[in-house]
């Protein structure tokens, strides 16, 4: 096994585990969670090895079946994809460890297919990130999407209905992408990303290219829940099981954002992309989403739903960074992909812990008994909330910092205003929750109603992942300059 195989091994690890889980699960169900965690660990280790390798000695490429590109499909581990695949695998692993307990409680009897589907979901996501072929990307997009529908449909009674909406929208998004890709293929005659990039700059008639890019952009905007195409997200995330949400929510939308980055700045010449009104539109829709998502989050009484709307807002930050089409904007977008994956995963994990211990995650029913019962979970939630608001030295502050630098560089006052407004709105909806968790006394008489299923802090298998993510926010915050200098700057596309 040489390093050159790494790009293909990562999705393969998940795919093999998905099969093994089914087989072993049929024999003995209790094996499934262990297998899932093992497979996810293998994926994470491979991805981190790839990250180190790429940082040390440049990109890796793997030709599938020995067919050389552009005819064959290649898997590419370069700066951006190595970074992204590391985020996906690590956060996926953490979510799966935490999910071991919640799946057993919330969806007993469906654990084996659930875990198998989550492996396929991760296969799809890592495949999307690693592939160097735009059509292959569509295939992996469908793989991850179908798995995501399955993951989200298992949950409360409304979950299948909400997921059906997601399925409709998601399929539309994927079809848009495919449709757009057809335009590009007709013009350029190739599907390989690098090849397409070379040929597109020679194409004379721009209308079909722009048409194709717009379709692909809209498709990805749907998948990443960019305002105003976010309608599917809140319901789907709220009604799913805790494990499903904490796996899909931090990762699914990010990978769609990755595709936009890949498409605009690597496949296309950055210089060309900068002139596209489409890119500007992505940026401004992002800004609108930042504000809209935050406002909607304030109105939600259900924690998971609030976090879902907050995702709409945070995806907006990423889109705004992409829309600026500058090195600083790119840095802000990529850094926020990482930071937000950590924060949002941490918050959803706590929401899952609350559902396990209290049987609900309904904000008006929180009270200060939580701070005594679950001190560590609450502390992790508080830290992640502060990061979302953007208090230094947490990671979220530095996302804001780079975005502010990028916005100032182009005198984008709208984005700056949205940044300031959004951290205030974030403060409103998070302190609303924190106040209840820490300060508001339990209503008299109802104190010991059906609420408490089991008192006390969650078991270590759930607490450790939560604390790892929360601690990670401080590490990512204080180490952000290192990340930017050593990982993100080297991946900046030429010509941006």
């Amino acid at each position: 096994m040489t390093a050159a195989n790494l790009p293909a091994l990562i999705p393969l690890a998940y795919l093999v585990t998905a099969l093994l889980i089914q087989l072993a699960g049929a024999w003995r169900r209790s094996l499934a969670p262990t297998l899932a965690v093992t497979g996810a660990s293998a994926g994470a280790v491979l991805a981190l090895a790839g990250l180190v390798r790429v940082a040390a000695s440049g990109p890796l490429s793997y030709e599938l079946g020995g067919w050389p590109p552009p005819v064959g499909i290649e898997f590419v581990l370069d700066g951006l994809s190595a970074f992204m695949v590391a985020v996906v695998t690590v956060v996926g692993l953490v979510a799966l460890v935490h999910g071991g307990r919640t799946t057993a409680t919330e969806i007993p009897g469906r654990v084996v297919p659930f875990l198998s589907a989550s492996m396929i979901f991760l296969t799809g996501l890592t495949g999307m990130v690693l592939t160097g072929d735009l059509f292959n990307l569509y295939v992996f997009l469908e793989i991850s999407s179908l798995a995501a529908y399955a993951l989200l449909a298992v949950g409360s009674r409304q979950a299948p209905l909400s997921t059906f909406r997601y399925l409709t929208m998601g399929t539309a998004g994927a079809s848009f992408y495919l449709f757009g890709l057809a335009f590009l293929y007709l013009e350029a005659g190739t599907l390989n990303m690098a090849d397409l990039g070379r040929i597109l700059s020679l194409v004379e008639s721009h209308a079909p290219v722009i048409m194709g890019l717009t379709f692909m952009g809209v498709g990805m905007a749907l998948k990443m829940a960019l305002f105003p195409l976010h309608g599917w997200l809140p319901d789907a995330y709220t009604d799913a099981s805790s494990a499903g949400t904490s796996l899909v929510a931090p990762l699914g939308t990010k990978v769609a954002a990755y595709v936009l980055l890949r498409l605009f700045f690597y496949v296309l010449e950055p210089e060309y992309a900068r002139g596209l009104p489409l890119l500007t539109a992505v940026g401004y829709l992002g800004i609108a989403g930042v504000v809209w998502g935050s406002v909607m989050a304030i109105l939600q009484p259900e924690l998971k739903r609030m976090l879902a709307y907050s995702s709409v807002s945070q995806v907006g930050y990423i889109a705004a960074g992409i829309g600026l089409a500058s090195p600083l904007g790119f840095i802000a977008a990529v850094l926020h992909i990482l930071n937000h994956a950590f924060m949002k995963a941490c918050l959803f994990l706590v929401a899952g812990s609350l559902r396990l211990r209290r049987g609900h995650s309904h904000i008006p029913r929180f009270d200060r008994s939580l701070r005594r019962a679950m001190p560590w979970s609450m502390a992790a939630f508080a830290l992640a909330a502060l990061s979302m608001i953007g208090i230094p030295p947490t990671a979220g502050f530095f996302s804001k910092w780079y975005l502010a630098l990028a916005a100032l560089e182009q005198a984008n006052w709208v984005l700056l205003a949205a940044l300031v407004a959004s951290s205030l709105l974030n403060a409103v909806y998070f302190f609303r929750v924190l106040e209840r968790m820490y300060l508001v006394p339990a209503p008299e008489g109802v104190g010991t109603a059906p609420a408490a299923i089991e008192p006390g802090e969650v078991p270590a298998s759930m607490l450790v992942p939560t604390l790892v993510l929360a601690g990670g926010l401080l590490v990512l915050g204080l180490g952000n300059a290192w990340l930017v200098t050593h990982l993100i700057r080297p991946m900046l596309p030429a010509g941006l």
Binding site: P393, F398, W401, L408, V420, E435, L478, V484
Partner: protein
């Protein structure tokens, strides 16, 4: 030009970290109050000693500096104990020692709940304050400034009453807005000036940034620090925050937090924008205008407050703007006077808050109108109150006289008669809102049939210490005056800093 040389030393970092470590220990020993309080006292003493150790260097033109690691490419998390930083750190850490003793007496006598959270938050606040003082650049400053905003929140909502929660929300709304604007100002400074480092005389000179840009950055940054400095109309949170326990009002809302804002103003004026730009772009005039208006208006509002702590809060708002006004004068005596007022107001106002707390703990009285004859029940407390009240009105030999004298001298140097009038008028108003309290306490018969008692010794001793300190600093202002002179010399001799010109273009 840097009028002091730097040398590497971790001492400033230790001074920041010691109370952060203490906060951890406090939480860990929450079940054993005696041990927990030991941590607070030990950390306070150690921190003071560490800061004290930096004073000789600062006076001799040598600043300890520690550069940790980059927190943004090109900007390091760096601490530097320059004269101004040492000045502020000395005030905050010195008064924390006294406040810690008083706090222990206050929360025990008052039977407060959540004492562990209280002491831990207090320790974190002090770490952030010292961090603010020693920050070597604007981004480091912003990091500690935001930490301070946040660490104060648990203290504001300490009582967990609906009123306290409302005050907490108001406080957060002000503080986080300010933080957001300061973030934008910091990023913009980086873009326009190419550096964030604090340099005496400013960093914008020769950067090529247009006057419009600099004015906009100044306004954003001013709102950012002005909220904590209580410059009207940004002061609204401060009177509401008086719902916090009195030691919090004393140390944080009269010294550490609000003075971080004022300190920020001085940093901006002297070390980011520089006296020359302040004058040429008319920024000093804007600053002086807001500060002058605040001095007068806050005093007028203080006259009408019956709640003792609220009266003190409005008095604080007024006195904070003395310092801002002094900085805006850009004259040697004005800036020295402003800095001296930073320490002098701290000792006097902390005395007054301590007294208000002692009255509350002993007699459960909060309002000025209930204080008839209190002087006979609590002679020590009210005696100290009288000393501090005289000082704030500017009566010698209490230290308030010294700084006010220098400030007045500064207005004359700058040729600003309007500022002089404001200062003198405010002296009269101070007398008008403080002396009735003294009069009630000592010269009116008590309406209570039962005689009250003096507060416990752990509270009275700190009160006496800060009152004596106020007088002592009035008689021997040398140490702080020398530090202030070092700051003034550096700032006003910066890139082209003229020494005697007035405000305005």
């Amino acid at each position: 030009m840097i009028p002091y040389e730097t040398y590497p030393s971790v001492q400033p970092l230790l001074a920041v970290l010691v109370s952060l470590a203490a906060a951890g220990l406090i939480v860990a020993s929450g079940r054993r109050p005696a041990l927990r309080e030991t941590w607070t006292l030990a950390a306070a003493a150690l921190k003071f000693a560490l800061v004290l150790g930096l004073v000789p260097g600062a006076l001799a033109g040598r600043a300890a500096e520690v550069t940790l690691f980059e927190i943004s490419p090109g900007v390091a998390l760096a601490l530097r104990a320059d004269p101004l930083g040492v000045f502020f750190a000395l005030v905050a850490s010195g008064l924390w020692v006294v406040t810690s003793v008083y706090s222990i007496g206050y929360v025990r006598a008052g039977g407060e709940a959540n004492q562990t959270r209280y002491f831990a938050s207090f320790a974190v606040c002090l770490s952030a304050t010292i961090g603010v003082a020693f920050s070597a650049n604007l981004l480091t400053f912003l990091v500690f400034y935001e930490m301070l905003s946040l660490a104060t929140y648990p203290l504001v909502i300490h009582k967990e009453t609906p009123e306290a929660l409302a005050a907490g929300r108001k406080y957060l709304a002000y503080a986080l807005t300010a933080g957001g604007l300061l973030l934008v100002a910091t990023a913009w400074t980086w873009q326009a000036a190419g550096t964030l480092e604090f340099r005496p005389g400013g960093i914008f000179a020769g950067s090529g940034a247009g006057p419009g840009t600099i004015r906009a950055i100044f306004l954003l940054a001013l709102v950012g620090v002005g909220v904590k400095a209580g410059i009207m109309p940004l002061h609204g949170w401060l009177p509401s925050a008086m719902v916090a326990p009195t030691p919090v009002s004393a140390l944080l809302h009269a010294v550490a937090v609000v003075k971080s804002g004022v300190f920020g103003v001085v940093r901006l004026v002297g070390f980011v924008f520089g006296p020359e730009l302040m004058r040429d772009l008319g920024l000093a005039a804007v600053l002086a205008g807001f500060a002058g208006a605040t001095v007068v208006l806050a005093s007028l509002i203080a006259l009408r407050q019956d709640n003792l702590k609220r009266r003190l809060a409005y008095s604080t708002v007024g006195h904070l703007s003395y310092i801002v006004l002094g900085a805006a004068l850009l004259s040697p005596s004005g800036l020295s006077g402003a800095l001296l007022h930073l320490v002098n107001h701290a000792t006097m106002k902390i005395t007054l808050f301590f007294c208000a707390g002692a009255i509350y703990v002993s007699l459960k009285k909060k309002n000025v109108s209930e204080l008839d004859g209190v002087g006979r029940d609590m002679p020590w407390t009210m005696g100290a109150f009288t000393v501090a009240a005289l000082g704030l009105a500017g009566v010698p030999p209490v230290n308030g006289f010294v700084s006010k004298y220098l400030l007045c001298l500064g207005t004359l140097e700058a040729g600003e008669v309007a500022a002089l009038v404001v200062l003198l008028l405010s002296g009269l108003l101070n007398a008008a809102y403080f002396f009735p309290i003294v009069h009630r306490a000592f010269f009116r018969p008590s309406r209570d049939p039962v005689r009250g008692r003096e507060a416990p010794a752990v509270m009275v001793i700190p009160i006496a210490v800060v009152a004596v300190l106020s007088v002592a600093l009035g008689l021997f202002p040398n140490l702080f005056f020398d530090l202030a002179s070092a700051v003034t010399a550096g700032v006003l001799a910066g890139p082209g800093g003229g020494v005697t010109a007035g405000i305005g273009p």
